[in-house]
Amino acid sequence: MSQPKTIVEAHLVLSDGEVFEGEAFGAPADVAGGEVVFNTVLSGYQEVITDPSYAGQVITFTYPHIGNYGTSALDKEARRPFCRGVILRDLARRRSSWRSDEDLDSFLRRHDVPGIAGLDTRRLTRHLRDSGAMPGAFGTADQATLLAAAKAESGTDGVDLVSTVTTPERYVVGHGPRKVVAYDLGVKATMLRHLGEIATVTVVPANTPASEVLAMNPDGVFLSNGPGDPTEAGPIVNEIPKLLGEVPVFGICLGHQVLALALGGSTTKMKFGHHGGNVPVQDARTGKVEITSQNHNFAVVPGSVPGVTETHRCLNDGALEGMVLEDVPAFSVQYHPEAGPGPHDSRYLFDEFAELMDSVRPVAARGE
């Protein structure tokens, strides 16, 4: 054990030419790339890596030690990771947790996700913070190749990523007393677990027409989170108006953004987005602050959405984090109340969705 371990040198090159030296781990890759973003969670790396909203992106973890407690079948947010790669400072050699069934390196190899470790992730984070999230490429290829690959990366603007992550077929989860149809724009397992406690949930592909949804006579419709640019989220934006007023609607993250677009609002790309588990959001109605889990690069422009009350704001930067429709039973939040990973402060929103459904259609009136 003289040489600690065999090191495979690798580099990360950003599209602006910034170079970082590190070592390869996870699935082998000469060149891997995507939009490079950073996430500040201290725990919950597996949930982040398996969150479909990261489709097209390479995730930088700001916390240096990743992989300490391995991975677990219990903590998967989707059937597989959709991110393009993982960047971190120090990958645990040994995992330690009674919950774990596999180490992170093996998990990533098994799912063909490449990674790069050992680099100055704080320098990278500061660079992304100051210059904005940008495309990058990493791997064992030479720097010129990586730079070319980084420049050729399209990023996430104007790209339809939802179709790459949504379920090909509808399926049912949960056992709650209500009936909910959930649009899978890239839905996380924890979200469905929470919905499943209040309803029996039929998860449908993102391109399912509203008519088909309404034909199922649901008590409510849920618009899930998902990756990328909401203006490229596909036909869903056109279907939402047909649902509003017919059935209570609850949207989270991308679901919130497409709801805003459907109402005539606009969205914008943020400089580097919100990716973390410590974001303070204030409910304007109560003044209460929730610490929220967030993952978005796009945001709804405040004041752009007609017919809504803006209910939540991010206290760090004033970003719009939630809204309630004034005339129809529907509401949405930008952040992740299901919190996988992250704090549980906002889980009550699932109960509010249940109450909203019950107010429109009392339990007694349901034809079970």
Binding site: M1, P64, D75, R94
Partner: protein, 1098 residues
């Protein structure tokens, strides 16, 4: 909701003297609170008996009461000041307990004082084990299976119910005092009875032991709108079974999945809500079963704590400051985050580095203590370190302790462990001790599997694997060899935290050679920023730590910079007094136009607050780490003489032109025995006769020349380390042998021609005097204070009570002392502070030693006289003259009349029942208090009260003194009888007293060895039965005799004040007499010193 307008004045209770379990973290929190509440426009009234604190500087409050922390005294303060509110959550357990007592005594009701930051109900729910357990049951959280007992009968029933092994925790105690494990019914008898005694309400919690589980803490804050946030999670590297204050801990938690962490977070919020802490910070401790993740709530503290100081330093989130704001009505979202300035405090810090806290113990000072760690805290201080990874952070932390170790082994300190065989090492590694982690590393190096070590020791395999990364790197380095080191291999070693000293050890090269080669390879540290947010937002506060990465974040600056070296982890002999001096230097040098740069590694301190200095480097105080900062900051100078021995030791290694103040050359002149003797002879200043010796026979010859008793001490040590007084040749030979063999002393000095033993004739019954003074570059000199010790020479000055102004010195003697001090300062070419110790015997003044640096007494002198010695000294060191400072109003005339201040030492003996309480030349006190009043007697009584030994007003005094003390003791005995005390004495003392006209009411049986039959009851029985109110017991000759020791132990255990010198007995008798004739009165420092807080610094 913004700040409350319905309250205008707030009383803050401090935590009193530094004791084990309650250290400078409460100066840090209290200082923050005072500042914040003053800034908010409230009138701040502060009560704290500890003069060494920064918070008791008169400018931090409107009225500062350096008075005993006692209900009666606090009632007087409340009566006088009539505060609208009482904030008790920033002064540790002491303040919380006093607040409860004030409520129970009806004082708060009577004077209409509102308790803010906590409620009586919440304090009770958190502190009372039974209520807490019920509360946890109510909210569905599990606590360990437990029963409450108020007597041994109940305790035995509980033991049968719960089953062994068991942990016993007394209610309402601090730092786990009286807590213990029992594996057998016999052990249970012992720990349960000790626990009942330790609890002020005779209540213990008997719990099933969960030794070996993983231990965590969450630092939680809540505002009155019920917003809750976690500031920091902390994981203990040592498993359950070791008090968290004695554990190596790491932040954030490393081995919890998010699912488990969020479960813990939810539980922590449920706890703070149920307990009812409406605003402020709390700390909730959990145990987790590594086998299945079961979580148990261990306890919660409804106040800021040692852990919250750590969490504040670890994240940059100032918990105490925010807690103070929350207490006066703000909500978290209304308070800005100081570091980002753009985001609010209502968030949870994210960090992108690893913080390690390592305790520092003082077992070498406490012969008799077992050195085994357990549920009762024993450490006296701690160091914190920051690295990008755990191995880096851990190694930095280990070298921050300044105990001769430079990382996780790979240094000369490892030799002791390398010599042990595997079985012995493993057996020792299973016992929690300060050295355990080093033993584990040796086992890993020898190839023992992580699984086996984890199973035997309870260390989590992840941590063990991190240790083994260090071990493997070491082997790689040795194989590679110095000459084959590449830039890449240097960098990798540094990234794992290897110090240059360790690398030098592995390569058999000098540290400087390693440093030069590494720098030549281009491997130098980068400084990153602690910013609360993992770089998500820009940080405005330059709070840095070193690591080896690509990018350095130190910003350039146009102002001249001055580096101030702090004092490192608290230890006996070097504590808060030096932090006080460093902080004052920082304040005043900033005022003088410098950019101040603080280097320190003690998370408890004010100096490591990010807004004390312009720049803060949280770094070990070693040559390598200090030079790194100096190279990064390029300062005009470095202040080395205010942080105690730690920075002073570095002075010789720093570029000489950078050292401000007295030159290292002068420091050596005062320290080197031969040169010092020559200097004193030249100045014709008498010294006690003596000499230096390396060999025993040399020592014997010296004593034959100068006579016995003699004071024997090693050179270049701090706090009287290993000093003894010998009364005959046998004792001298023993002492020399002990010094030559003293293991730990080898690290600190050892016996060589360079570091010989110093032997002086010991002046019996001499009065010891400390003098602090300042000299400027032009030779102008000012006296700070002359402190007369209460205990005679021979008791370490740090352990002795002392008074300003000196009560017994004649004007003529004072004149001589001043003259000697001035001439010594001149001859040593001092620029800054000089502390000189004298002994006065029969009117003749002898100089004992001189130290051209800040002494432990500087803050006390400042509080007693109003002269800000530390600030003046700092200015003088950077070139100001005393005249300039007088003109600027910084140097004021000392207030020398109208009051007397007495400093008393606080000793840790209650924690260490196996250690004799007799005072001697080795310092053992952890902290100090000040009593201040119109006369010496009253001030002395207050100092005793503040130190926890409240003197009785009536009752029986047990009097037992050594033969040589009988004559001087007689006066005290007479006075006590006059005061109406009954005297109890053993036959020998009784006969002497009776023969000299003192009535002895009770003749006490001699203490007999077990098994012997005695006549009547002995002193121990009398003390235990509560019939004795005061013990006066002086040791008989050198070496504690068993009977005296048992008497003192009984007094310590029973909390009966025990005076171990005749001088203290006399002072006490005089004080009690005056006390009797006058009413207790309280006066603020501002009134004593006739100073008002300037408006400039809030």
């Amino acid at each position: 909701m913004p700040r409350r307008d319905d309250i205008h004045s707030i009383l803050i209770i401090g935590s009193g003297p530094i004791v084990i379990g309650q250290a400078c973290e409460f100066d840090y929190s209290g200082t923050q609170a005072c500042r914040v509440l003053s800034d908010e426009g409230y009138r701040v009234i502060l009560a704290n008996s500890n003069p060494a604190t920064i918070m008791t500087d008169p400018e931090f409050a409107d009225a500062t009461y350096v008075e005993p922390l006692d209900v009666e005294v606090l009632t007087k303060i409340i009566e006088k000041e009539r505060p609208d509110a009482l904030l008790p959550t920033l002064g540790g357990q002491t303040a919380l307990n006093l607040a409860t007592e004030l409520v129970e005594a009806g004082v708060l009701d009577q004077y209409d004082v509102e308790m803010i930051g906590a409620s009586e109900e919440a304090i009770k729910t958190a502190e009372d084990r039974d209520l807490f357990r019920q509360a946890m049951n109510e909210i569905g959280l599990r606590s360990a299976r437990s029963e409450i007992a108020h007597s041994m009968e109940e305790a035995r029933l509980a033991m049968d119910e719960i089953g062994l092994p068991i942990i016993v925790r007394p209610a309402y105690i601090l730092g786990g005092k009286g807590t213990g494990f029992a594996y057998t019914p016999e052990e249970f008898e012992h720990v349960a009875s000790r626990g009942l005694e330790a609890s002020p309400i005779d209540e213990i919690l008997i719990e099933r032991s969960i030794k070996g589980w993983k231990e965590y803490e969450l630092e939680v804050m809540r505002d009155h709108a019920d917003n809750c946030v976690v500031i920091c999670s902390i994981e203990n590297v040592d498993p359950m079974g070791v008090h968290t204050g004695d554990s190596i801990t790491v932040a954030p938690a490393q081995t919890l999945s998010d699912v488990e962490y969020q479960e813990m977070r939810d539980a922590a919020f449920a706890v703070i809500r149920r307990v009812g802490v409406e605003t402020g910070g709390s700390n909730v401790q959990f145990a987790v079963d590594p086998a299945n993740g079961d979580q148990i709530v261990i306890e919660m503290n409804p106040r800021v704590s040692r852990s919250s100081a750590l969490a504040s330093k670890a994240t940059g989130f100032p918990i105490a400051k925010i807690a103070a704001r929350l207490a006066v009505g703000y909500t978290l979202d209304e308070i800005p985050n100081d570091i980002t300035r753009k985001t609010p405090a209502s968030f949870e810090p994210s960090i992108d580095y690893v913080v390690t806290k390592i305790p520092r113990w003082a077992f070498e000072k406490l012969p008799g203590a077992s050195g085994v760690l357990g549920p009762q805290m024993q450490s006296v201080g701690e160091a914190m370190s920051i690295g990008r990874t755990f191995p880096e952070s851990l190694q930095k932390g280990l070298r921050s302790l300044e105990q001769g170790r430079f990382g996780l082994n790979a240094d000369p300190g490892e030799d002791d462990f390398n010599a042990l065989d595997d079985d012995q090492l493993l057996a020792e590694a299973c016992v929690p001790t300060p050295d355990r982690i080093f033993k584990v590393e040796v086992l890993l190096r020898r190839g023992m599997s992580i699984e086996r070590i984890a199973a035997e020791t309870g260390f989590d395999p992840w941590f063990l694997d991190q240790f083994s990364m260090i071990t493997e790197e070491r082997e790689f380095l040795v194989e590679t060899g110095f000459d084959a080191m590449t830039t890449r291999s240097w960098r990798r070693a540094k990234r794992l935290g290897f110090s240059d000293v360790q690398l030098g050890y592995l390569f058999d090269k000098d540290e400087r050679v390693v440093r030069a080669a590494r720098l030549a390879a281009g491997v130098r540290p980068t400084f990153k920023t602690v910013d609360t947010c993992a770089a998500e937002f820009e940080a405005e506060t330059p709070y840095h730590y070193s690591t080896y990465e690509d990018e350095d974040e130190v910003r350039p600056c146009d102002k001249p910079r001055i580096v101030i070296l702090g004092s490192g982890p608290n230890r006996i002999g070097q504590g808060i007094e030096f932090d006080y001096c460093c902080v004052h230097a920082s304040f005043t040098l900033a005022d003088a136009g410098y950019e101040t740069v603080m280097i320190n590694c003690n998370p408890e301190t004010v100096s490591t607050d990010y807004d004390t200095s312009d720049r803060l480097y949280f770094e070990p105080l070693t040559y390598e780490d200090v030079m790194n900062v100096i190279e990064a900051e390029n300062p005009v100078g470095v202040i080395v003489s205010l942080g105690g021995q730690t920075p002073l030791k570095l002075a010789n290694d720093l570029p000489p032109d950078l050292v401000f103040g007295t030159s290292p050359e002068s420091i050596d002149l005062a320290e080197d025995r031969e040169r010092w003797n020559a200097l004193c002879a030249q100045l014709e200043i008498p010294q006690p006769p003596g000499g230096t010796a390396v060999e025993v026979e040399e020592a014997v010859a010296i004593c034959q020349r100068v006579g016995y008793p003699a004071l024997v001490r090693p050179s270049y040590v701090l706090g009287g380390r290993a000093m003894t007084i010998v009364y005959d040749e046998d004792a001298l030979r023993g002492a020399m042998k002990e010094l030559a063999n003293f293991g730990s002393l080898g690290r600190e000095g050892g016996l060589t021609a360079d570091r010989p033993v110093l032997i002086d004739r010991f002046l019996e019954d001499a009065i010891e005097v400390d003098v602090d003074s300042i000299r400027d570059k032009n030779g102008d000199w000012v006296l700070g204070g002359i402190l007369e010790h209460v205990e005679e020479a021979g008791v370490h000055s740090g352990d002795s009570a002392c008074a300003i102004p000196p009560p017994n010195l004649t004007a003529q003697t004072i004149e001589v002392i001043e003259d000697y001090s001035r001439r010594l300062a001149e001859r040593l070419d001092v620029v800054g502070l000089l502390n000189v110790q004298f002994a006065v015997k029969q009117g003749q003044v002898f100089v004992i030693e001189a130290n051209p640096r800040a002494s432990r007494t500087v803050p006390f002198v400042a509080k007693a006289t109003g002269v800000q010695l530390a600030m003046v000294a700092a200015r003088v060191m950077v070139g100001s003259t005393l005249d300039e400072l007088r003109n600027h109003g910084l140097l004021v005339e000392a207030v020398r009349h109208g009051h007397v201040a007495v400093k008393e030492a606080v000793l840790p003996f209650q924690r260490f029942p196996d250690v004799d309480t007799v005072l001697g030349p080795e310092m053992r006190s952890t902290g100090e208090v000040m009593g201040i009043d119109a006369s010496f007697g009253l001030a002395f009584v207050k100092s005793q009260m503040a130190a926890g030994g409240k003197l009785p007003t009536s009752g029986t005094v047990f009097f037992s003194v050594a033969d040589r003390d009988k004559e001087t003791g007689l006066a005290a005995a007479h006075l006590l009888v006059e005061l109406g005390f009954e005297i109890a004495a053993t036959s020998g003392t009784a006969t002497y007293l009776t023969d000299n006209g003192v009535a002895v009411g009770l003749v006490v049986a001699k203490i007999t060895e077990s098994g012997e039959v005695s006549e009547g009851r002995d002193a121990v029985e009398l003390i235990e039965s509560g019939e004795i109110q005061l013990v006066i017991n002086t040791p008989k000759g050198r070496g504690p005799r068993a009977d005296g020791r048992r008497i003192r132990l009984a007094a310590t255990v029973e909390g009966v004040p025990c005076l171990t010198t005749v001088a203290a007995a006399k002072a006490a008798a005089v004080g009690m007499q005056e006390w009797r004739n006058s009413e207790l009165s309280v006066t603020s420092l501002q009134d004593f010193l006739a100073v008002r807080r300037p408006d400039t610094r809030g």
